[in-house]
Point group: C2
Chain length 498, copies 2
């Protein structure tokens, strides 16, 4: 074998747009996924885990028309015997894999097939502040049901989920819209499918939550000067022509009946429009019967996210409380979840139209919201650290941690070089340890151990006088046999004090 060439030292960096998650960042996410899975499961959804890798062909949307299909996904070509195999890619969401799974296993799966899935997805996009190229999604979908009860259920479940993870009622709102109503509006405007102006109107509507009513009006007609000073060409409609779109987007009223009446006016006598309104009515009635009032879920035609993608009802969960952004400005926290009905995803594979509806929760955003509201602590305590005063008595120290662990208490022996005792306490500090245990030769001979309450110690160090500090009220001497009991007592008192 040839000797490997000497390589320069590699750089220890995460790839651009990726990051590492440490300690409570990981465990809090795991806990949230578990909580959400609990709600989804209770609603009757079954778990599904597909692999991170799919064929580019199955992912669909990103099918390559150039040599390398790297628009949006991370993709590579498999090396087969001739060196050129299939193109593979990392999944960019959990919906495309669901469509593939359902098409592949449909003969064995129940219909409707109700599944939840959670895990990372990957986007080959330019990363920005707080935007990473790998992030978690947490989805639930019902495949094979055309019933509006499936959509209403997803909305109710979304509301339940948010409250279960700790977002109180009043701090969020699930908003429902319907693509068919918009289709009705476009129909009354004479914008049939396939027309370029129709696509332009759809793209403009998508900007509604950024540019507002007047912005959309300008963009639909003669164009608009954006915030950066650039002029954005308009679609070229007359003011009258643009009016139905504006009427649709602003048709929300204080009560659902009035909103629906406004929508009826906006769609005129369009059949598809009337169908969309009937769907919204059905969803509204089911939710009302279930006790989900407008304080939790409401019909809101200004929801435009995903209208281009979905084929029927569209829903979005928004957190309504205000936060300060990185520039210190107040703003609403915004969307943490979206979903809707997409009746043609499976058709790509089978030719058969299969109705489906579902939701995706952005778990990392939701965690951010809970941290923002102080509902989960940013950091958790480290382990109790048993220090090493005498390196030949490692077995004694291991026995102490074994006792603590058997009592369910997180604990470890200091495993670094024990020579410098200061380093051991620095380590305990860096681990955010609640307690350090000390047993030198003298203590051993007397059958006792020293137990330091590090939380109390830190508090005293901040405020105590020299006399108070000298009394060391945060250090306790107890019989070796009382180690576990005393540690437990201190941990309990720390918990009480928050």
């Amino acid at each position: 074998m040839a000797k490997p060439k000497k390589q320069p030292r590699p750089k220890a960096v995460t790839p651009k747009g990726f990051r590492d998650y440490f300690a409570s960042e990981v465990t809090q996410r795991t806990e949230m996924l578990r909580t959400i899975a609990g709600v989804y499961h209770r609603y009757g959804f079954d778990a599904l885990e597909s692999s991170a890798v799919e064929t580019v062909e199955a992912l669909g949307k990103y099918l390559p028309d150039v040599d390398r299909p790297n628009a949006g996904v991370f993709a590579w070509q498999e090396a087969d015997e001739e060196g050129k195999g299939d193109w593979m890619a990392l999944r960019y969401d959990l919906t495309a894999p669901l469509a593939r799974v359902y098409a592949q296993h449909r003969n064995e799966l129940p219909t409707p097939y109700r599944r939840y899935a959670m895990g990372p997805v990957w986007r080959n996009e330019k990363p920005g502040p707080g935007r990473y190229r790998q992030f978690y999604q947490c989805d639930a979908d019902t495949v094979g049901s055309a019933s509006m009860a499936a959509d209403a259920e997803i909305c109710a479940m979304l509301s339940d989920t948010l409250e279960t993870v700790g977002i109180p009622r009043g701090d969020y709102l699930v908003r429902v819209n319907n693509r068919k109503v918009l289709n009705g509006v476009l129909e009354t405007m004479g914008l049939a499918e396939g027309l370029e102006a129709r696509d332009a109107v759809l793209r403009t509507i998508d900007k509604f939550d950024k540019v507002g009513e007047q912005g959309v009006r300008e963009l639909l007609t003669t164009g608009r000067l954006d915030a950066s000073g650039a002029f954005i060409d308009g679609v070229g409609l007359s003011a009258d022509q643009a009016e139905p779109v504006i009427a649709f987007l602003t048709s929300k009223s204080d009560d659902a009946a009035a909103t629906l009446a406004n929508l009826r006016a906006a769609v005129g006598d369009s059949r598809i429009g009337a169908e969309g309104i009937a769907e919204l009515e059905q969803i509204g009635a089911l939710l009302e019967a279930g006790g989900y009032g407008a304080d939790r879920i409401e019909i809101d035609p200004s929801v435009v996210r995903g209208l281009g993608y979905y084929t029927g009802p569209v829903y979005e969960a928004e957190l309504t409380f205000e936060i300060f952004d990185e520039k210190g400005r107040k703003r609403q926290f915004g969307s943490v979840s979206g979903g809707g009905r997409y009746d043609d995803l499976v058709k790509r594979f089978t030719g058969q139209e299969v109705p489906a509806t579902g939701v995706s929760i952005g778990v990392d955003r939701l965690l951010e919201a809970l941290r923002e509201k102080g509902r989960i602590k940013a950091e958790e305590h480290g382990p109790v650290v048993v220090t090493v005063m005498d390196r030949d008595r490692m077995a004694d120290y291991q026995a102490m941690v074994a006792e603590l662990r058997n009592a369910g208490i997180r604990a470890e022996v200091y495993l670094g070089n024990p020579k410098n005792f200061g380093n051991q306490l620095k380590y305990a500090d860096k681990r955010n340890s609640p307690i350090a245990v000390i047993e030198g030769g003298d203590e051993k001979a007397r059958g006792i151990v020293q137990i330091k309450d590090l939380i109390l110690g830190a508090k005293i160090a901040q405020s105590a006088t020299l006399e108070e500090w000298k009394e060391r009220p945060s250090q306790f001497e107890v019989a070796r046999g009382d180690l576990v009991a005393k540690v437990r007592e201190i941990l309990a008192s720390q918990d009480e004090q928050g």
Copy 2:
């Protein structure tokens, strides 16, 4: 925008070597990961989650010396402005990312850094039966500790973990070996580092658990006819020269002291060999003091897996019970976990040697073992299914499932087309539902519901006489207000009967 070209229908298939996991396959793994994380956490390890993607440079072992580094990993080249960016790859284990993370963040991390990590890893290898290209690992490592107490702790934790997930004592064994002892053996044989014969001997030792003592003897000397009839060339040692290797591999005795004495003879006066034996002695003493006897952990020089990779102690957990393989032959279940000390992984990045030791559990293998032993059920019950007798009363049915869910009972309304009632019961059957609830117009008028015990029903269908069957002892009529109480009662009786 140009219209997309019409594409042929994509094939709905998982990429070769990947698979989908359904329902309890997913939840049982999640539960096991949670249990293992609980043990690791109690031992003082902190969670770490690095991204699935690393630069090929950071992964190291697979640095490309050809145009495309696809040996063993899934890799691709990023497209930067000039079209040619860094090579990226999916991680192939959790240790290489740990080395990168530690090197990158070492100034902020405590030393020792003790972390656990769990998640999928990817191997670009030829898939085989039961061998997939994505699988889960579950690791714990202590970085920055040279103490044998760190190694002993990992062995103890591995033993605790196996028992906690449900492998009883006696059904597993953690076996410990040491690479330095082998180095001592090679030194006494005059095989210095860098010699080709030394590498050949190392590769041969790696086959010990496949070919056994006589096989290794042949391979070290004149060669061997393997099972397929092919002749494998030998290393070319004389029988005398090969003897120390055989002595090393077969030095295990019934008690640790005798094993260590055998090893002492095998390494002669090699300093590195003596060091390795002293390390094994220390680990043995610490484990004995902790009460981990030879029924759980033992020193066994025949452990060869990973000896080429690790630099000091090596450990492996083996399940010792017998199973039948796919050909109906009895065999030991085998290894579910391995680990050891690797003191030079971080050095690649920083130039500094950082001692580290850790373990990796193959979670999918461990799950397979528990299923094999009947310790976890292959399937779980589906939701209670509320059937739809009258599609205009969807709100009534939703109210029933809401009541059930609020009582913590998994439940759903049938969301398919309700026209054919038989399909609804078929659906409940396919979901493995324990109970179906029926409320037609007649029941509604009388204020009652019908509750079918589907488990009991299936049992009766197998064995009952026509008379018994006609009595329908598995169907209950209760007042609508008693729905939740009756469902709960039936579920409890089903649980009792297993």
